[in-house]
Symmetry: C2
Subunit: 234 residues, 2 copies
């Protein structure tokens, strides 16, 4: 029952939508132990420095990894369970990386919604980073699967308060199918196609364009755009 | 730029409504320094123990102070700025209290909405605790004024997602005036009396009763009750 000093880190859940799937940016670690080398993935993050604000630590993780300077990072939850370091592989990897003895490790989690564009294909090669579909995540280091689940709940809340944020994930012109897929993956459930089309009609800020898909084998779908000026503020 | 170990605490913003004012539960500290004894107030909270989950630490703070076992405590934000310990009085007080050298102090903040009832007048005498109006807060220890402001923003978001939570603060029977005062203090702005009455009419879950105030010098106001079954789920 002693007072004592845990280690403190930040972790970033960077979520993006590529037009088909909601994805999270993960970095690879390639450590080895007595059973040999193993590869697995984790959220981008690191221990904070002594003279560093939490928000600044999170921004610098994002900047170093993606080159993005201006993204809005939202602190959404702190994970501090004792069981976070129950896997000795995680502890050994971190102790090797930072050359420190690690006991309890508390992490402040941030999230950001990012448009996956061409620019983001040039991720810093130092981190073997990649976008992974939320529908098909492997077992990640520490409690990072749980952190991502909580981030998903957070977007659902944020989208209820302000649906605009979901449109920040879409390209400037998008199809009804893309919008539905985004909603389905944010809310984690299948939506009825007909009802969803009716729902779009009730959104004055989703504006149908006179443009259609080209070079597609199926019937060309109409493009829509998002018009923030038509948002009705509750 | 070293990695290092900060101290970690939990602090609880316990908000209640006494029918007139939105209040926060504060505890008094009575330390002294070279300039003599001084009294000021802070949020209830403490350093976490080595083998203690964050949520459990927050629950135990609430239980020891108020005797409340079952309240829902929501972790809402972690405050970790270096400037949190910029007031030497705060640091000296804490070092005296825990017999430890304190450097950086990071706190995980929780909030809970509590009905202020008779039971809550019997607060543990160990803490010189008291309910203080949010409209008239003194300068508190550390960054606790800022933590309370952020908690207020959090209730606004929570109430937008689920207006039910505000009714948890009200007595079983309440007047329109009490409901308006609660809304005004949660949202931090004056509301027009007429418009607010119209707004109440559009809330199917606010049910007018055939009961009126008694023993009042002004015109007796009607009582209302909250009926959760009439909530329309979005």
């Amino acid at each position: 029952m002693l007072h004592y000093n845990p280690h403190l880190s930040v972790d970033c859940v960077l979520l993006g939508f590529d037009g088909e799937e909601l994805k999270v940016l993960l970095v690879q670690r390639n450590p080895s132990d007595e059973e040999g080398e193993y590869n697995d993935m984790k959220l981008p993050g690191r221990l904070i420095f002594e003279d560093e604000e939490l928000d600044d630590a999170a921004s610098s993780v994002l900047l170093e990894l993606t080159g993005i300077k201006q993204a809005y990072l939202r602190q959404f939850k702190t994970f501090g369970s004792i069981s976070r370091t129950s896997n000795p592989r995680d502890v050994r990897w971190l102790e090797d990386a930072v050359k420190l003895k690690i006991g309890r490790l508390i992490t402040v989690a941030y999230m950001s919604l990012i448009k996956i564009t061409g620019r983001l294909n040039t991720l810093s090669p130092d981190y073997s980073a990649g976008w992974k579909s939320l529908l098909d995540l492997p077992q990640l280091a520490f409690d990072h699967n749980q952190i991502i689940l909580e981030a998903q709940k957070e977007i659902q809340h944020m989208a209820q308060l302000d649906p605009t944020i979901l449109f920040e994930l879409l390209p400037a012109k998008f199809t009804a199918l893309q919008l539905r897929r985004l909603y389905e993956q944010v809310y984690g459930r299948q939506l009825d196609v007909r009802n969803f089309h009716k729902k779009i009609m009730t959104m004055p800020y989703v504006v149908p364009l006179d443009e259609f898909e080209t070079n597609v084998s199926h019937r060309a779908a109409r493009f829509y755009k998002f018009d923030k000026k038509r948002m009705i503020k509750g």
